[in-house]
């Protein structure tokens, strides 16, 4: 299991908001300038710390949404009800405002441009964020690794990165699963990810593919269990779960 060693102390750095991209009514991508950023791998995350005027602090973990780009990093933050950090970052937080960030963190749920094996990405809702970082890293590196993405979301309005995902890229196949409401013009009924979905999307077991699954706990448990039942080895399946309590 090759992993990234994080050497030395992970320092808090001051990052300033450079740009906001609204992804959905409740989620936005935040582009930060963060001088001295050491770079990161697709799939890694950071800790974000907010400090109030009286010294009160709150910190949360967020996935990086895009590959390393000098001193610029991107996070996509979903507003969570009663989430003190996400409510600020998706609300009053404005271009030029500082936060503190440290990272990168996590060396297991990562994709490297040197990885040549086929990849299956399985996203549940906001779980698309670290997987999008992998898709973007693949594109930037000109990688020929074959990618498939299964993206499960409740309604079409909750789609992140809509414009970018609509553009076709050679070697990236995308299928969508809508659990509550289908896009206009699409026939069928809303459904959850199931054996048929993943049996169609998964690479044949002998391809030596890696599967990355990210989403809410129940979604990840279901998808990972299906992949095991389809004969994929536990070692080929990497997961990142966030419970409903994650802010």
């Amino acid at each position: 299991m090759a992993r990234t060693a994080v050497s030395g102390r992970l320092a808090w750095r001051v990052a300033r908001l450079a740009e906001i991209r609204q992804e959905t009514p409740t989620a936005r991508t935040l582009v930060f300038d963060i001088p001295g950023w050491p770079g990161h791998l697709a799939g890694q995350h950071v800790d974000v710390r907010l400090t109030a005027a009286d010294g009160y602090t709150a910190q949360r973990s967020y996935s990086l949404a895009a590959p390393s780009n000098g001193d610029r990093i991107e996070l996509t933050v979903q507003r969570v009800a009663d989430g003190e950090v996400s409510e600020h970052l998706t609300g009053p937080y404005a271009v030029g405002d500082p936060v503190e960030i440290r990272g990168p963190i996590g060396g297991w749920f990562v994709w490297r441009p040197t990885d040549s094996a086929p990849v299956l990405l399985v996203a549940g809702g906001a779980g698309i964020v670290p997987l999008m970082s992998m898709i973007r890293a693949r594109r930037e590196a000109g990688s020929k690794a074959l990618f498939r993405l299964v993206y499960s979301l409740r309604t079409p309005a909750e789609l992140y990165y809509a414009e970018e995902l609509r553009r076709p890229y050679a070697g990236l196949d995308i299928s969508y699963v809508y659990t509550r409401e289908l896009p206009e013009g699409l026939s069928g009924i809303p459904r959850r990810i199931d054996v048929a979905t993943l049996n169609t999307a998964a690479w044949p077991t002998e391809f030596g593919a890696t599967t990355y699954i990210c989403g809410p706990t129940g979604f990840v448990e279901t998808a990972a269990d299906i992949m095991l039942a389809l004969g994929h080895s536990p070692q080929s399946i990497r997961t990142e779960r966030f419970g409903p309590g994650r802010d």
Binding site: A5, V6, R9, E100, W108, E221, Q235, P244, R246, D247
Partner: protein, 199 residues
């Protein structure tokens, strides 16, 4: 004090003196695992302690159930910043499993079904500080939370409480486990906020 983010106020102050720095209260019980959840039946389940000289002692599920157990009510703290107070467990104290083994080891590598590992000082597993836990909230521990049995070391960040624990290997030298190799702290004291190496 860190850099102030203008307009950020945050929640009510002084929510609980039982929250370590950087943590927030979770009402639910989030799950953090690196891969699929291993399903280990209690018929197949076995737990072992292995000393540095290779002496091995093992327990089947029924043998573990026959040992005196304790009810434990503790606060738990995950490195991903959530904490949960007054969680209720039942388990066998590690003292009862390691206690009279002949060892000069100072460290332990916990191994799990599914391949997960994490390293701890042996002293942190003894003295009524750690358990092999098999009940949560009065019910059998579910697989996603580490069932049938997990290590419970509540005074350290929760990744040290290895889910699906299978073996404790005693060692005279410390070596990093799964997350520790990826940059997480070797000890992981939440009160000193030892999240990552160098903290």
């Amino acid at each position: 004090m860190g850099v102030v983010t203008p307009g950020f106020t945050g929640r009510a102050r002084g929510a609980s003196p039982r929250l370590p720095p950087g943590q927030y209260l979770a009402e639910d019980f989030p799950v953090l695992s690196a891969g699929p959840t291993p399903r280990v039946s209690t018929e197949r389940w076995e737990f072992a302690v292995v000393t540095e000289s290779g002496e091995r002692r093992s327990w089947s599920w029924s043998e573990l159930m026959a040992l005196p157990s304790e009810k434990i009510t503790v606060d738990i703290h995950c490195v991903t910043q959530w904490s949960k107070l007054d969680t209720r467990w039942r388990g066998v104290p590690v003292d009862a499993l390691v206690g009279d083994l002949d060892t000069a080891a100072d460290y332990v590598m916990a191994h799990s079904y599914g391949g997960y590992t994490t390293n701890l000082p042996l002293a942190d597993l003894l003295g009524g500080q750690a358990w092999i836990a098999y009940e949560y909230g009065g019910k059998p521990l579910t697989p996603e939370h580490g069932g049938p049995a997990r290590l419970l070391v509540p005074h350290l960040y929760f990744w040290k409480s290895a889910k699906w624990v299978r073996e404790l290997r005693l060692a005279t030298k410390d070596a990093p486990g799964f997350w520790e190799t990826a940059g997480y702290h070797d000890y992981g004291d939440p009160w000193r906020e030892q999240r990552y190496q160098g903290d």
